[in-house]
């Protein structure tokens, strides 16, 4: 990463760190999709190398968004973990589609959607925050929405690419196990109610794995960025609060008048 020496707008970030955190409400998904069938990847998506070129280096001023993106990924991963736990304990969600639908209830950070929409040629009908990337089995790489590439800095883009690569590798590396069950279920040899939940479990496993890899990549980038700005408060560490002045109680109104009166009465014997 390259960074210039000018001081980025870190006061805003300091304020955020002091508690003005964005509340996670709203309608954001902004979570990369799983390995998608080729025909589900929109035509306008760009190969990962093109996307990286469209993006820009992350700087100190990007840290709030990097943190927000990371938090969003962690929250999404937790949602998948919750779904997987349900499948493991109850067998539900009971299908691939069912588990996708259940994940659709995940509510992300609206700040991410807002930044995505700042793309200069943003088209609400075409650019969807709920689907900014996909893994192409045929090309062996990630394809991403150019608006995502242009509006988010390179480390965020790179973590999304890591997410998609993880999907490709996990799905193909584990398919040997699932293929026997898939053939048996598809051919009707197994009429068991296990076919659906096992399908759901494969998707949940892939998502958990991919989110883990994306999160790992972004955490490393954030740590590196903090190291590149040692002289600034541009870190994810807790800010040192200024110490409050020592407590000095003030005298109540009329206090000294009463002291003087008491003193006079004592001296004059009244």
């Amino acid at each position: 990463m390259n960074h210039n020496d000018s001081t980025p707008s870190c006061p805003a970030y300091r304020a955020m760190k002091r508690g003005v955190r964005v509340t996670l409400v709203g309608l954001l998904l902004a979570s990369p999709g799983a390995t998608a069938p080729e025909d589900e990847i929109p035509d306008h998506f760009a190969p990962e190398s093109v996307c990286m070129d469209l993006s820009r280096d992350c700087e100190c001023a990007d840290l709030p968004m990097m943190d927000a993106f990371l938090d969003n990924q962690v929250a999404a991963k937790n949602k998948w973990a919750e779904l997987r736990s349900q499948t493991q304990s109850t067998g539900s969600p009971s299908t691939h589609a069912g588990t996708r639908k259940a994940f659709g209830e995940f509510v992300g950070d609206p700040a991410i959607t807002a930044q995505f929409a700042t793309c200069d040629d943003f088209d609400a009908g075409k650019n969807k925050a709920s689907h900014v990337a996909g893994g192409s089995l045929l090309l062996g790489q990630a394809l991403l929405d150019p608006c995502f590439c242009k509006t988010f800095c390179r480390d965020i883009v790179a973590s999304t690419i890591a997410h998609e690569h993880a999907h490709l590798l996990f799905n193909l590396g584990a398919i040997g196990i699932y293929s026997s069950i898939g053939v048996a279920c598809k051919s009707g040899l197994v009429g068991s109610p296990l076919c659906g939940p096992l399908d759901a479990l494969a998707l949940e496993g892939s998502e958990l794995y991919a989110y883990g890899k994306g999160i790992e990549a972004l955490e490393e980038s954030i740590a590196e960025l903090a190291l590149e700005y040692p002289e600034m408060d541009c870190t994810s560490e807790e800010m040192v609060e200024e110490e409050d002045p020592p407590f000095e109680p003030e005298s109540p109104e009329g206090f000294w008048d009463r002291v003087e009166l008491l003193g006079r009465q004592f001296v004059e014997g009244q």
Binding site: E38, L137, G140, L168, G176, S179, K186, P197, G205
Partner: protein
Amino acid sequence: VDVVAPSLLATGFSVWTRLSKLGCVGVQLAAVMSAGVACSDSGGSASSGDAQDDGRGESTSENDDADDQPNGSDDTENEEPEGEAPTGSGKFGAIWRQVSAELMVIDADTPIPELVSVEIPEAVPFPETESEVELYEQITDGRHVTYAYVVGAEVYYRITTPATEGDDAYSLQRGDAVSLYTMEDGRLTASSTLSTGNGIVQVIATFEEYTGTFPPEEWPSEMVEGEIGGPLQ
């Protein structure tokens, strides 16, 4: 086979072991998953030490070859092709393709295990897509390797997973599945178990050794490589 089964699960494996006549594979897997299951019959396993040592020794060079490899067919005409599998070796380090599977399905509604046999086509369907994938497997240098080619793709994949060496066997975890690879009469066999809240599926996959040039000539030269493995966090 002498099975000490402390649970219904282990009992299921015991039944499966007896019915499938596939030696001790199922019981070995059960032993991996829950302590307290014993197996006293080697069930015709390949003589271990040699298989492991040879397999791993050969596979190191295979692995290197595979890394350097993807050169298509041109390079293979006048000299021994790089990455060619140790044909006929019958060892873990050979290149293997799954040809069939025996499934035991136990679900909550059906107390009696359902046993199913399936033939695996040369290209298996990729879930939720129209794509088909040609798959080959290998265990080399303490790692399980999956070679995958999505029909029509511009690349093929080489995906490694750390494998733990056991007694004449290798175990590995991919996602929610634990798999145990053994050699049975010179053929690679993999036993994997998956479970959900409403049941368990155990798959015993049987492989056939691939004896041609590897990677196959039809595959593209570009390779995408990566590693997966371990329990999901």
